[in-house]
Symmetry: C2
Subunit: 430 residues, 2 copies
């Protein structure tokens, strides 16, 4: 049923991608350049042959009903008709991510002064971050393209998700990380794969090496390089789930962390698709981006009112957001401005406080990216950029167990006592 298709890095002319089975990418019809609109056939391509702009999936969606979606599985495949995956996706082993909790956050809302606040909690995904969503879509593309190796450059969350998904799918994985990565993050990938490769260099060096391998080797699917268009679509499911879990309606405001910016653009795309398909009522919504001051190139451009992003050298505890030259930064600017949102940034101290605040109010232990989003939400209210009377959703993208060091100095035991009732009474906790 599946035949060999070369996986390569850059396409230089519109390909025909022979060898793909019928419906390999569901209702996707082509790859379209986000810059010039040029279309190429579906295949392992990510850059426009005309202008080198980013390629994105185009679909011819069927009629889809709420009831059909609700009858689907309790994971992202309930939205398979809207993703570049085949109709039989559920029969291929995968980590079955998604459909995570949308929690009403009354305690946090009270502290931030927001009347109607929700947290979308992706820390309970299979490998504890939203990356399981995008990797599941990339895995499907890798399968359909008959890739031999499933790979990525990463500093943490992505490596975990790729290694776990590959293990379950029975496909060879190779995961590249900077050699100075904290040991817990290394263990959390090495547990799943024999092929964890440490690279002497920073993340940019690792990323560059990955692109070189993608160009030289046949049959490698680098999730965030040569199958990126399929991978990125997985983030749309965050938007779909928020709408469905709110009872099939869109929130007024959403706050989303910005690394490459891909997730924010895909939540916007998801909302637009739901409106177009008649699955939710058409209504205005505002999208806000959250960055760290130590890596806030999009926030800087937003505030300056300019269209170009000036790359920065990251220096922040929010390592999963530390992309100094974000690929989708200009699209994030577009969306924030078009929807009446904003892009804001906070300090590392505010990020730490955001982590503790979310834990103490809602019982959710988030990583630094989530601390950033909570702290930015607070700042957006304080500066009048976010309307505290409107229904607001904050996205938590990952788990605090992965970035323990960020808060291990900030919290701890209230007291150490002898094992006696008298010693307990003496500390005066009650």
């Amino acid at each position: 049923m599946r035949r060999r298709t070369a996986v390569s890095a850059v396409v230089t002319e519109a390909p025909t991608t022979p060898g793909l089975r019928e419906g390999a990418f569901g209702h996707a019809t082509a790859l379209s350049c986000r810059e010039c609109g040029h279309q190429v056939a579906l295949g392992p391509f990510y850059a426009c042959p005309e202008c080198f702009g980013p390629l994105e999936i185009t679909y011819d969606f069927p009629a889809v009903t709420r009831e059909e979606i609700e009858a689907g599985p309790r994971n992202i495949w309930r939205y398979k008709a809207l993703l570049p995956v085949p109709a039989d996706i559920e029969s291929s082993p995968n980590t079955e991510p998604g459909f995570t909790r949308l929690l009403r956050a009354e305690n946090l809302g009270r502290e931030l002064g927001i009347t109607n606040l929700w947290v979308k909690d992706d820390s309970t995904n299979p490998t504890n971050s939203f990356k399981d969503r995008v990797v599941a879509c990339a895995l499907s593309a890798a399968r359909e393209l008959d890739a031999k190796v499933f790979a990525c450059p990463s500093t943490g969350n992505l490596a975990n998700a790729v290694a776990a998904a590959g293990a379950r799918a029975g496909i060879k994985t190779v995961v590249f990380i900077p050699s100075n990565l904290e040991q817990p993050k290394q263990v959390n990938s090495a547990i799943f794969t024999e092929n964890l490769v440490a690279v002497d260099g920073n993340y940019d060096d690792v990323n560059k090496l990955a692109s070189e391998i993608a160009g030289e080797e046949e049959g490698w699917a680098f999730v965030n390089v040569n199958v990126r268009p399929y991978y990125a679509e997985g983030s749309k499911t965050l938007g779909y789930e928020i709408a469905e879990q709110l009872g099939w309606r869109l929130p007024d405001q959403v706050v989303i962390p910005v690394a490459s910016g891909s997730q924010l653009t895909k939540v916007d795309k998801a909302f637009a698709e739901l409106i177009k398909l008649g699955l939710v009522e058409d209504k205005p919504y505002r999208i806000f981006g959250a960055q760290a001051e130590g890596c806030g190139p999009v926030a800087t451009a937003f505030k300056a009112g300019v269209d170009a992003i000036r790359p920065v050298k990251p220096d922040t505890i929010a390592k999963s957001l530390a992309i100094g030259n974000p690929a989708d930064g200009i699209y994030v600017l577009d969306i924030a401005r078009r929807t009446g949102g904003a892009v804001e940034e906070v300090t590392d101290e505010q990020i730490r406080a955001g982590i503790v605040q979310l834990a103490r109010t809602e019982g959710i232990f988030t990583e630094t990216a989530g601390g950033t989003t909570v702290a930015v939400t607070r700042k957006l209210v304080e500066t009048g950029q976010l309307d505290p009377e409107l229904e607001t959703v904050v996205i938590n993208t990952g788990h605090g167990l992965k970035t323990l060091d960020a808060v291990s100095g900030a919290v701890g035991a209230a007291a150490t006592i002898a094992p006696t009732y008298a010693a307990f009474k003496a500390i005066g906790l009650v």
Copy 2:
């Protein structure tokens, strides 16, 4: 609506528990002694006033249909009619645990020689262990009994779950741990509560102190002490979910880790209730218990063919299973023998291998308890105690990120290289 009810440790005569609102404990009708059958009214009691045996919830269940359950929320409250919680439980803030993945485990099954194998993965619960289920039921009881403080003695998972659930519910939490507990586990509780109390002593000392406080202070709900009957019922939801996710039928065999033994007895109780309510077809099933050799008092008794459990001093890496004198051990023996199951034990080395095997085959990073269960399953097949042709479910109760040290020496990078394609080719991975 709620009135003050004293929370105390031991009841000496049958109480009437005035002050409870109607339906505070759903369809629960009484607390019954597991040993002598004596009944007392519902309240903050855990030991029989006649014989000091453990008290357990008795119900008068209504007719419940599959459709009603399936129309419920995507968490344990879909089974609220079968739990000691009020009908409006969903309106009280809680962590909304449960309905975790049941994954078909073809790769692991192939390696173990089991034809039809599933993993029930509770590592994706809100605080990454099955404890969120039991704590959610204990929290409801604490609310209905108007407790002032929500507390527990713990070495890890339980403290995380109590501190998180209490934060979200807005109830004061006090969590007691041994002072020599690993720092990551301390952070993972302290992030949620200001009242983490470190106790100079081992877990038994901490537990003893907790019982003393429960006896002296009014209004404290210690989840695993004085509201234990309500707490323990939460584990039934693991059994309900397995049956529902298999399409409303029972598996032939289940392998469950044994610490106090409570979870195993509650899965058996859940299966029996589903049969009685006509929600699944009546059929035989076998229940197997998994222990570590360094703390295997139930396995020892099972193999010796005796009815009494001889307490041991735990010495194993499976710390969440390290209960040397398991309260429900004798009931575990009963169930294993009655259903044709067994209780087996494995070495720490086998536990480590079990963790790596589950990760490499299914992309699930389990803690030491899950490694124990996988390793025991292997041993049960090898020794002919488990039938490899029958449908089998293995329960994974917690997340490997909490017990990183157990495997950090066993896995790691395959190579460290310079950031060049030549250096990558030289290691010969492809």
